[in-house]
Structures are given as C-alpha cells and as structure tokens.
Symmetry: C2
Subunit: 193 residues, 2 copies
C-alpha cells in the first residue's frame, strides 16, 4: 500500500467514515491542511498515551481522578449518570447541579449487542454503594436507547435498595441531551422524579 492508501484506510476506522469520505478527507488534508495533519497526528498520539479513565466516574481523564471527582466540595449524596462527557458538560453549564457523576461512555443497545455489562453497570452499582450516595439521578438521553439504559440501570439500583430518579420529562422526547437548552435542563433537574 502507498502512504496515501494507508492514510485512507486509517481514516476509514473513524466512525461514520466510509471509502468515499476517507478519500475526500485525505485529498483535502494533503492539498489544503498539511499543518493540520501534523496536529492531528500529535493529538492522537498524546491522547492515546495520556487519556485513561477516572477511577471513580469512568469518564476519560488524564489523572487517576478527574477534576470533578477530585473536588471534595461537591454534594456526595447525589450521583448523576450521563452517557458522555459532552452531556456531563451541559449539566455543569446549567449551574443547577453540585453532586458527582458517573459517565457511562455508551448506552444500552440490544441490537448492537451492547448490554448493561458493556456500559459498566457493575462499576456504577459499586460506585453508588460507595458510602454517602443517597440518590442516583439517571440523566441518559430521552431517546429509545437512553430510556432503555435508564430503565435497566434504575431496576438494578432499586434492587439494591438505592434510590434512582430520572430527569423530568421537561426534556423534549427524542432529543439528545447535549442539544437541549440549559433552562429546560435546569428545570428538568429540579423536577426529577
């Protein structure tokens, strides 16, 4: 394989990128973005070497504990479960939540063979049983898969005697949490059930 063919093959490993997109990306980078190629290579290498998972909340972190888990000033009685770091960032920006998080980095998807095990349910149950947690707020997306995830995790938590709530339905059904306006999310947080 030539260097160009190898680049196209490597780009095809990105999610949602097929042969045609990978070719277009490779030609664009080579023709117009030589500097960006080096930056992307360096960012990939650095990310691969430096980014692991937070021991407590499972989110991507360059340190054993992420900045939020390392912040002792937060409310240890609340644990909020989100799908992605982007969803977590949106909740942080509402300024309405001061508890801790657990970041699934995925959601239940039976058709793809992604079950409770694959999204770290055992790790969540362990974290929720960690002294002090009084309520787990399930803030997964209000999509079919997000709802299924909340359902599975809620059942597992309640079976262990842990209180599990869901964001109120103020969040528009069918939407990705990340795109919901902050006021709606703040309202949904206070109305959790």
């Amino acid at each position: 394989m030539t260097a160009l063919e190898q680049l196209i093959e490597a780009l095809k490993r990105l999610p949602g990128v097929g042969q045609k997109s990978a070719q277009r990306m490779a030609y664009h980078l080579l023709q117009h973005e030589r500097q960006a190629m080096g930056q992307l290579a360096a960012a990939l290498t650095a990310a691969g070497e430096q980014i692991g998972h937070c021991q407590r909340c499972h989110t991507f972190s360059e340190t054993a504990l992420c900045a939020i888990c390392a912040d002792a000033a937060r409310d240890a009685r609340l644990l909020c479960v989100v799908e992605t770091p982007a969803d977590q960032a949106v909740l942080e920006r509402t300024g309405s939540y001061r508890g801790y998080y657990f970041v699934l980095l995925g959601r239940v998807s039976p058709l793809d063979g992604v079950g409770a095990r694959e999204i770290g349910a055992a790790q969540l149950l362990q974290r929720a049983a960690d002294g002090g947690v009084e309520e787990v707020i399930l803030a997964t997306s209000f999509t079919a898969e997000g709802e299924a995830t909340a359902h599975v995790l809620g059942d597992a938590l309640r079976a262990r005697g842990i209180k599990a709530t869901r964001l109120a339905r103020g969040v528009p059904v069918g939407s990705e949490l990340e795109y919901v306006d902050l006021g709606t999310i703040a309202h949904a947080l206070s109305d959790r059930r």
Copy 2:
C-alpha cells in the same frame, strides 16, 4: 486544553466534521479503537512526510514522477484531465484508456472563490503544450462544478490551439464519475466529442 479537547479540535479540521462529530469520533476512538488511533497518527505522519505531487500530472505521489507518468509505454498523444486520483483510478479500471493524465485535485467553484488558477490551469496548459499531446480529454464530473471546470479549461486549451474533447454524455448527468459503472465510462470514452 486537555488532551481530549485537543483531539476534538484536531478532528474538527477534517472536512465535514463539526463539534458533535468530532466528539463522537474522539469518544469512539478512545473507548473502542486505541490501536486505530496509533495507526491513524502514523499514517498521517507518514503521508505528511512522504506524499508530494507528481511533477508532470500534479497527482499525489511519493516520487518525483508518479507510476503512470513514469510509464513510457503509454500513448503520449492523449492527456486526460480528471478531478481526483479516485476518478483517475476508475478510468484506469475501464482498461479503455492508455494515455496520460492530469489530476486537478479540485474543480472550479466560483462561490467558494476557487477559479482556474486555484486548480492549476497554468500547469495543465504547460503540460498540454509539452511536445506530443494531440488531444486533451476533459473527464471532469458531470456536475455543475465539473461542467464549469471543463468549460473554463476547454476554452483556455482551444485558445492555445490545443484540441480539447469532453467525455460523451453517456455518463449520467449530475453524477460523480467515481460511482458510474465501468461500461458506461468505457462507452463515453470512445464517444468523446
């Protein structure tokens, strides 16, 4: 910026990739494709260091002359102008063409400020005046931009007394050359006008 933020910013430099796609790509790579991250980094670095342009046809090449331009057995009377290496590969696979190529690596797009100069028209005119070329076949896509490109280049070539033809209209209008079946392309080649 954290390593994760830097990775997301770098991925946003890929064409067609916005904030949301870049996040999704970064999470996916970190969660499921650690090996692919290293391969992509290496492929980007190698491509940046090794891939330049062929001196004669302008396509991406790791050598001063690409394999086709270096092949003295081809028909030097024919020069075929294509938009991308992918289009060139399709023409090669028809087995119907034995001349040389000029690869624009782009197409005229007035709305984006991409004119004849930006797609290397001067270099093409110089190559076409290179002793021996009797006909330039304009095999740009049959899209609005590809037609505009063929029009601009055809006028410039004819103004210099160089015969310029266009692939026959056997190629379905509005389609990208790369997706057209080989038989249609072979037919369009023989019917060029």
